[in-house]
Each structure stands twice: as structure tokens, then as C-alpha cells.
Amino acid sequence: MNIQEIRKDFPTLHQEVFGHPLVYLDNAATTQKPQCVIDTIRNYYEKDNSNIHRGVHSLSERATKDYEAARETIRAFFNAKSTKEVIFTRGTTESINLVASSWGGANIGKDDEILITHMEHHSNIVPWQMLCERTGAKLKVIPMNEAGELDLIAYAELLNERTKLVGIVHMSNALGTINPIADMIKQAHAVGAKVLIDGAQAAAHLPTDMQALDIDFYATSAHKMYGPTGVGVLIAKEALLNAMPPYQGGGDMILMVTFEKTQYNELPHKFEAGTPNIAGVIGFGAALKYIQNIGFTAIEKREKELLDYATKKAQAFDGLRQIGTAKHKACVLSFVLDGVHPHDLGTILDREGVAIRAGHHCAMPVMQFYKVPATARASFSIYNTEAEVDALFEALEKARDMFA
């Protein structure tokens, strides 16, 4: 894997910020987009722009073909059983809300329990809280330890016959922890619970096999995988989707409408009301092909190298406390620095051209666990280099001196 060649694919990386070369370390928020994704989206708008699934003209046929080809790319990428299981949404958040609203509304009652982990993103907390408020069901939380690893003994104790759904983040955006979802799914299934995996953070860093893992519901977003914003996917078992009521009503999700009754469309269209983000979906497909061309073996190896390099530097840096030190983690270096608030770090680093995230990372319960208001987070991707990690730590030194 040649990092310099990969960097050439990403036009955004080649710019200066305040006179310094951009060091983009906010990949957990969103990754940059390779030229092939940008070209795919531009090509759609320049040549094929039209609505899908209804036009009889050439443009619509081409757009429909590309849109459905992207669905197949995504199916294959996650090894779903069929394209009927691949539902396009606006992103992970909408995918989870779809499940909470449609499946949850039909299957959750007041004596039921929903189990999530302490390290969930707000998008895998709030929809379940809303469902619990509507139904009277209980929301329970799998605790974690100081390193940011789930307490699997507590998990086993929390599971019971009232547990109807377990929501687990595959990789924590705030900590970098990769959760042992294979075992956790088996345990959940043993008590009859369904499992939703939030794959937003993990999907660009490690492979996910829907069938091997036996995942019931899987949600992820294109923009964290080198694809465009505003598009994502819900992948779910066909039998579950078939039994679920539609999430939104409108065009494309129907077979036949009269004022008396509407007959819903087949999967996956039943869950795709309205004109979708056609360019986004086609761009999503191009992004997954980009990842496949590099391959997860190379990605995982390279990203581990870089995280190890950064972690060693962090351990040697005076006054720096890492937040999230799980044995099994990827690509995220979350930390606090004595005497310098993360937001001030963010501003000072920006002036050195280094882009990081400062804040609660939409995971406020994680901040509460570590008793910090916020953390600074550097998150890495395939195009980052050791020199960029060095630039990060040089900028951190400047920040520390400023407040010394």
C-alpha cells in the first residue's frame, strides 16, 4: 500500500490552512472523498440526471441501472443475502430511527427491555429512549470499564427473556473501541433478542459480514467511508423487513393507491418513500469499490501501524491522558491535556493546519463516565502519515506552552 499514491486520490488533502499543509485528523466525523467518488457524482448530474424507477426514457433507465447497481455493490460489500435487504436512508441516524419506529412500534410493549451499551452515539440512544417513552418499555445499559471495554459479564446478566433488542456500536467514535459483536450477537439470539449494529464508525476500518455475524439490523453512513454525506443504509433480514410496517408513506413505496386503501411495494422499495438521494447512492457505491480496491487486509494493517505510532507518542507526552485504551481499538486517539480545554486545543491546532475534533462526540454518557466535559480527538484514515502525527504532537506542544 503506497500512502503517497492514495493521497493523490483525495483532492481536499492538498491545500494549506493558515499557511500550513492541511493535516486532516477528523476522519471519525467524516472522511475526505476520493476523486473517483466526486467524478461519479458529477458524471451522474452531467449525463444521467433523471428520476428512477418510473421513467421510460434513456436517462431514467441509466440512472435506475446505476442506482440498483450500487445496491448490489453494497449488498456484496456487507455480504447481505439479497438486495431486498438493502434499504437506502439518509444515514445511520435515519436507519436506526426507521427500526425504532417501524419494528419497535410493532414489536415492543411495556414489559419489554431494550439493551444498549454505555458507549453508544446519541443516535443509538435517543431513538430507543423515544420508543421507551411511547411504549413504557425499559432502556438498560451495558456498563464498560475504565479502558472503554464493555463488561461482558454484566451483559450476560442483563440479558433475559424480556430483552427484545440489543443495540451495539461496532466501533466507538469517542473511544475507538471495537466491540466483540460476534459473541454478543450469539448471546442476544440465545434469549430471543434481535440485534442492531451501529456500523457508522467501523465500516471503513474493518469488514462486516451480515450473514457470518447473523446481524438482524445493520446501520451505516456513506460519508464515513469516503462517500457523500446525506446517504446511508439499513441492512436487515428480509423476514424482519417483510413483517415491518412502512416507515414513511409516499411515492415509490406503493404498488397501488386508492383513497380507500394502499398496497405497499415489495422490498426494498417499501422503505424508500420519495425520490431518494440518487447521486448519493451511486457515489456510495463508488466509495465502496474504492475501499474494495485497497482491501481490508491492507487497510487494517496500515491503520494499526499508524494508531500504534500515535499511541506511543501520546503515552510519552507530558500531561496527556488518553480516553479509551481498549485492547481492541482502531483509528481513534481521544484525549485530554492538563490545563488546556479541548476547545482551545481545537482552535490552536487549527492555526497550525491540524484539524481535530473537540467536544463530546455525540456520546455524552461516555464523557460522564470519564468525568470530563469534552475530549480532543484525532482520528486517522488510510491517507494519514506518520509525519502528520508528528505535526499533531508539535502543535500540541505549542498549545501546552501557550497555557503554561
Partner: protein, 151 residues
């Protein structure tokens, strides 16, 4: 271009490290909480306002970045002894300073020492850090009963 030094002036660093009037004011006549949902900054301001509408005392506590802490610290120093009318005048001047275009000089006559925060307008993502305490005091005085927010 404003440099980092324009934002993080020594007086701001000093107030960050040793915030003035930090803590709870008991008893107090007015108080309110302020949140900046973007960064998780939390602030609680306490005011003792007498029958003549004069702010006799003001304190704050909470967690925030250096800009939000220093801004609150400087604000409390400057509000003691001021009338509510004067507060409102200062609120407007501060808001104007933090959001005006670069060529508009701050109203130093009204703001005095607070003008050291003028640098925030060059840092759009930090303006709310500086204004949170002012919104929180406004909310306390108006007895809105709702926590102040910056968005």
C-alpha cells in the same frame, strides 16, 4: 489576519487559570444555567440584585474552555455595581463586538477591559464561547426560567 495571540491574550490566560468570582452565591436573587450544546460548556450564574435594580454581587461556576471561563470571569468583574439598564447596554455592546465585522472597533468606553475579547470574531466557532455567560445573565435577570443556550 488575527493571530492566536490576539485571541489568547495574557489577560485571558490569567482569567482562565484563576477565574474571579468563581463559585456559588448564597443567597442570591437571580440565577440561571447556560449551555453550549455544541461543546458541552455549562455555566451557572448567580446574581444579587437589590431593590434599586443594582447588581450588588455576581458569581459563576461551571465547566468550559478558556474563552468561556475568561469571558465569564471578566464579565463578573465588570458587572458588580452596575444597574440592569447598564447591563443591557453592555450586553448589546459585547454582542456587537463579538459579531461585528473586522473593521468595526469595539465600544471601549462601554466595555473597558472586556474589549480584550474582541479577537473572538476572527474565530467564528468560538464566538458562542464568549457570549454564553452574557446570555445566561440575561436569562437570569429576565427570570425566563429556561436555561440559556447559544443556539
Amino acid at each position: 489576519m488575527f493571530s492566536l495571540g490576539d485571541l489568547y491574550q495574557q489577560v485571558i490566560i490569567d482569567h482562565t487559570k484563576a477565574p474571579r468570582n468563581f463559585g456559588k452565591l448564597e443567597p442570591c436573587s437571580h440565577d440561571a444555567e447556560g449551555f453550549n450544546p455544541l461543546c458541552g460548556d455549562q455555566l451557572h450564574v448567580y446574581l444579587q440584585i437589590n431593590d434599586d435594580n443594582i447588581i450588588e454581587d455576581v458569581k459563576f461556576e461551571g465547566q468550559g474552555c478558556s474563552i468561556s471561563t475568561a469571558s465569564a470571569s471578566l464579565m463578573t468583574e465588570n458587572l458588580k455595581g452596575k444597574s440592569i439598564d447598564e447591563f443591557e447596554h453592555m450586553f448589546d455592546a459585547f454582542h456587537e463586538m463579538a459579531t461585528a465585522d473586522m473593521d468595526t472597533p469595539p465600544d471601549e468606553e462601554t466595555l473597558g477591559k472586556l474589549a480584550v475579547l474582541a479577537g473572538v470574531k476572527e474565530f467564528p466557532s468560538r464566538i458562542k464561547c464568549a457570549t454564553l455567560c452574557w446570555h445566561t445573565v440575561k436569562s437570569a435577570i429576565e427570570d425566563a426560567g429556561q436555561p440559556a443556550r447559544t443556539e
